[in-house]
């Protein structure tokens, strides 16, 4: 039954269907390997499990009020979203698989409003400068970054190079 159905569907266009299926299979394989690599690279590496790390967090509310929090006992397999929820009251929208990430919309009652958003920053170890991270808080582990910040600011552009760093006048880089 199946070969007959397939033959009916394909009709006289065997070569076209073969090419389309092969290219389609190639795309699926490419995306599956990219997703596997993404999951692997955003997961906590093995040596970090079972230990604790020290992480410094800055919360800049954008109205002149800033708060530095020094946490010395952060489980090293946590991500930055988990840490943020443990130190503050967070409002977030969760997006399920395949992204599986939270969009943080409010911290301690300060909500995204119009062009004002919570932007996410980290200190790049190499250049000792702030960088707006290219991934969400769920994908940030503490093997790469030890000083992170949430900065509430007006961002009318998706281009993070136009954003201000969380500490006024501090150096900023676009790539780490």
């Amino acid at each position: 039954m199946w070969p007959r159905l397939a033959s009916n569907i394909i009709g006289g266009h065997k070569a076209l269907f073969v090419i389309l299926f092969l290219v389609g299979a190639g795309i699926v394989a490419f995306q599956a390997s990219a997703y596997y690599y993404y999951q692997k690279s955003s997961a906590c590496p093995d040596p970090c499990k079972g230990s604790t790390v020290t992480v410094e967090i800055l919360v800049n509310y954008g109205n002149g009020t800033s708060q530095w929090i020094n946490k010395t006992d952060v489980p090293s397999d946590w991500n930055f979203y988990q840490l943020t929820t443990s130190i503050s009251k967070v409002q977030a929208t969760y997006y399920g698989p395949p992204t599986s990430e939270h969009l943080v919309t409010g911290i301690n009652g300060v909500q995204s409003n119009g062009q004002y958003f919570w932007t996410l920053w980290a200190i790049c170890q190499k250049s000792k400068a702030w960088i707006a991270t290219n991934v969400g808080a769920d994908a940030i582990h503490f093997m790469t970054y030890h000083t992170l910040a949430w900065y509430y600011q007006a961002t009318n552009s998706q281009d993070s190079s136009a954003w201000n760093p969380p500490v006024p006048g501090a150096p900023k880089v676009n790539a780490c």
């Binding site: 569907i9 269907f17 299926f21 990430e101 998706q158």
Partner: protein, 200 residues
């Protein structure tokens, strides 16, 4: 009997502007309605349908018009001009896919009144996957361009970090292209809409 001449209504500039505006409005309305679901949009299917029935120029017109509005009036933030240019070029891939399908056996089968809907769905789904992959590869690259110091690294980083969004985009587009697009095209053909190639 309907006759199709070069001076027909569909060839008038005003009609083309109107069709472009209608497709753009439809795409924008559905985009804003689906704003809470990242990368799941009917817009790409609409661009393909526009190009399938009305040709490449109109399809590109729809693709560019949509992004001229959606790139600047977007609750998720405004795109930079550089990223916007990548998005517009990427969206034109769907117009190219629509024209390619129009020139293929798919359009001929439709005119003959085919009942092989599975074939239509499979071809549209696979072409949709191809066009969406090309779009994602290009726009993921565009969102990372000049950020790592090497164009190759920009491409690799962009496509690895963007992969969860690409998967959502490609999976949803395969479904839309395999179901919505053939349904609209079959219905429009039954109602008498013909592509210029059909009547040539």
């Amino acid at each position: 009997m309907t006759t199709y001449t070069t001076a027909s209504v569909l060839d008038r500039r005003s009609t083309k502007v109107m069709i472009t505006a209608v497709f753009t409005a439809l795409a924008l309305a559905t985009n804003y309605a689906l704003i809470g679901i990242p990368n799941v949009k009917i817009m790409d299917t609409l661009v393909l349908i526009a190009a399938f029935f009305f040709g490449l120029r109109l399809g590109i017109g729809v693709a560019v018009s949509i992004w001229l509005v959606y790139g600047f009036v977007n609750p998720n933030g405004v795109d930079t001009f550089l990223l916007l240019s990548f998005l517009m070029v990427g969206e034109c891939f769907y117009a190219l896919a629509g024209v390619a399908l129009r020139r293929s056996f798919v359009a001929r089968d439709l005119v003959k009144g085919t009942k092989e809907y599975q074939r239509l769905s499979i071809v549209f789904g696979l072409v949709g996957l191809l066009a969406t992959f090309a779009y994602d590869a290009l726009t993921n690259f565009g969102s990372w361009i000049f950020k790592t110091g090497s164009l190759y690294q920009d491409f690799v980083f962009g496509n690895i970090i963007g992969v969860p969004f690409s998967i959502a985009h490609e999976a949803s587009n395969v479904i839309f292209f395999a179901t919505v697009a053939p349904a609209i095209i079959v219905a429009a053909t039954r109602l008498g809409l013909r592509t210029p190639l059909d009547v040539a």
